[in-house]
């Protein structure tokens, strides 16, 4: 038996060189691949953002043509949403879920490999459109017809890239659900699962329900353009507004796909540094389930101004406002967890605290946008840009960064440099507000989004916003340096890493062995 085990262990030891990464079926390797890919896409999408802010630094056209500007905004969104934020969460899930539930690996390791390796092909397709006649798509990530049909040779590349990203996401989601349902250690009941695992199960169900809808609607775009159908062509009996309905039926759950795992991360970090169990564990789970269910009946709040019956406007307004109740439960529970806790403020906790405060600002501006009558003023202004960047940058991205600081010592066996981590935090936390808060003022004053030039009365706050953007972009280089240097060297991290850390993942050595739990662990 010992011989079998030895041979088996050798057989599954990591291969050398490039083959390790190409053919790996190991959840940690694949998690690392996802996170590295996400980092690369963050830099790519970030460089597009720098071009956007450089162009908007002053009124007039400085650096890019209007078409190129619109291509920048479109590609920035596609790369950040599908290339940076979503793969980062999948990477974190790959790394942490098997360790948190006491499993040796993901349930479907070969599918896991395929899920990841579709992504580089998808983004090579998408980014290669910069070199095609007519350049990349410029109609916005929402791809509304008929505008998107102005895209040149890049159009089928865009559609096929989105299909690949969708297939990758759905396969990843299937793997995560199967892993959690079937691979939990004995005694690890559903109501003992860490919140990060819970939020990911619910996110995975959202992915399975929502991503195929996107795939369906972009296939309709493809057949409308090349195969003579008229799904969205009014002249052929179709309806362009129908695209918006179906797109946002995917699009709003997509927003929660990008924020629910962030809720899970914050729910892991806050109790650790408050040295108290999470307040209202079950209510947190029910709140996430409520948010996920409500996400399917709020889509038309993205399109109040396209025209719909008053009853429709009222329904979507009330259902949208209703989401603030479970979200409020979550924020209340995080604050209650900290109440009278033995708090300490290491870097992951700082990012998590910034998340709670700044995501709430994004939530409040979301409430304003969810009110149909006032949305008529905010629609298509910079107020919307400010809102969703508070949700996605200070929400999703801040949680991802918090998670990396939180789990990096476990992954690498090395502690990161706390001083540099705090410098990274304070530079980012200040500059991100300089970047996005003035965009509320610009939007309320009437500055439209998706334009390369603007009236001179918007010049002041745009300059402030751009300065914030440049500092925020540059400060992420500290993060890049910190991660690379921590992987290579640093003080030795203990198994538990953080004094208040609880859970199976912290019982493994730092770094954990190649196969996480070779025998089922004891679940307390």
């Amino acid at each position: 038996m010992a011989d079998i085990a030895l041979t088996h262990d050798q057989h599954h030891a990591p291969r050398g060189g490039l083959a390790r990464w190409l053919f790996t079926t190991n959840h940690k390797d694949i998690g690392t691949l996802y996170l590295c890919f996400s980092g690369l896409m963050l830099l790519t999408g970030g460089s597009f953002a720098m071009v956007i802010r450089a162009e908007l630094f002053q009124p007039g056209l400085q650096f890019v043509e209007p078409l190129t500007y619109n291509q920048m905004t479109t590609m920035h969104a596609l790369v950040m949403i599908f290339g940076a934020i979503m793969p980062a969460f999948v990477g974190l899930a790959n790394w942490m879920i098997p360790m948190m539930i006491g499993a040796p690996d993901m349930a479907l390791p070969r599918l896991n490999n395929w899920s990841f390796w579709l992504l580089p092909f998808a983004f090579t397709l998408l980014l290669s459109t910069w070199f095609l006649p007519g350049g990349p798509p410029a109609g916005g990530w929402t791809m509304y017809p008929p505008l998107i049909f102005q895209t040149g040779a890049a159009f089928p590349f865009l559609i096929f890239a989105i299909h690949l990203m969708g297939i990758s996401s759905v396969m990843g989601a299937i793997n995560i659900i199967t892993t959690v349902f079937n691979m939990r250690a004995p005694g690890m009941s559903f109501f003992k699962l860490p919140l990060f695992v819970w939020t990911w199960i619910i996110t995975a169900f959202l992915l399975i329900a929502a991503m195929p809808v996107l795939a369906g609607v972009v296939t309709m775009l493809l057949t409308d353009k090349y195969f003579g159908t008229s799904f969205f062509n009014a002249a052929g009996g179709g309806d362009p507004v129908m695209f918006q309905h179906v797109f946002w039926f995917f699009g709003h759950p997509e927003v929660y796909i990008m924020i629910l795992p962030a809720f899970g991360i914050v729910s892991q970090i806050v109790p650790t540094f408050a040295r108290k169990p999470l307040f209202g564990y079950r209510s947190m789970i029910y709140a996430v389930v409520c948010i996920a269910l409500l996400s399917f009946i709020v889509w038309a709040h993205h399109m109040f101004t396209v025209g719909m019956p008053l009853a429709g406007e009222l329904f979507f307004m009330y259902s949208t406002i209703l989401i603030s109740v479970p979200t409020g439960v979550k924020v209340f529970n995080w604050v209650a967890t900290m109440w009278r806790g033995s708090l300490s403020f290491e870097t992951p906790m700082l990012w998590a605290l910034a998340f709670i405060v700044l995501f709430s600002i994004g939530g409040f501006s979301g409430l304003m946008l969810g009110l149909a009558p006032v949305d008529f003023q905010y629609q298509d202004t910079y107020f919307v840009v400010a809102h969703f960047h508070y949700v996605l940058v200070t929400g999703a991205l801040f949680a991802i960064i918090a998670a990396v600081y939180f789990w990096l010592p476990k992954w690498t066996g090395h502690m990161y440099n706390e001083g540099l981590g705090k410098l990274h935090f304070w530079l980012s936390a200040i500059s991100v507000n300089v970047l996005f808060f003035p965009q509320h003022f610009l939007g309320l004053a009437g500055m439209p989004r998706r334009i390369p030039d603007y009236a001179t009365q918007f010049a002041g706050w745009n300059m402030v916003s751009s300065i914030g953007g440049f500092v925020f972009g540059a400060s992420q280089l500290i993060f890049l340096y910190l991660v690379i240097s921590t992987v290579r060297s640093g003080a030795i991290a203990s198994d538990q890493v953080w004094e208040g850390a609880q859970g199976l993942e912290w019982t493994l050595p730092s770094p954990p062995p190649y196969h996480s739990f070779t025998e089922a662990p004891d679940v307390p």
Binding site: A5, D105, M183, I208, A215
Partner: protein, 43 residues
């Protein structure tokens, strides 16, 4: 050490895992086709 627990490819739960994955894949396919059905059935 139980070699069957080393990797899911040798895991006795493999059959259950594949069945769960197929059910979920069918749900995803139904959501994809559902959009077309919705469009066709729309008055």
């Amino acid at each position: 050490m139980n070699p069957a627990a080393m990797t899911p490819s040798l895991d006795p739960r493999r059959r259950t895992n594949v069945r769960t994955a197929l059910i979920l894949a069918a749900v995803a396919l139904a959501c994809y086709l559902g959009i077309y059905a919705y469009y066709v059935l729309l008055p």
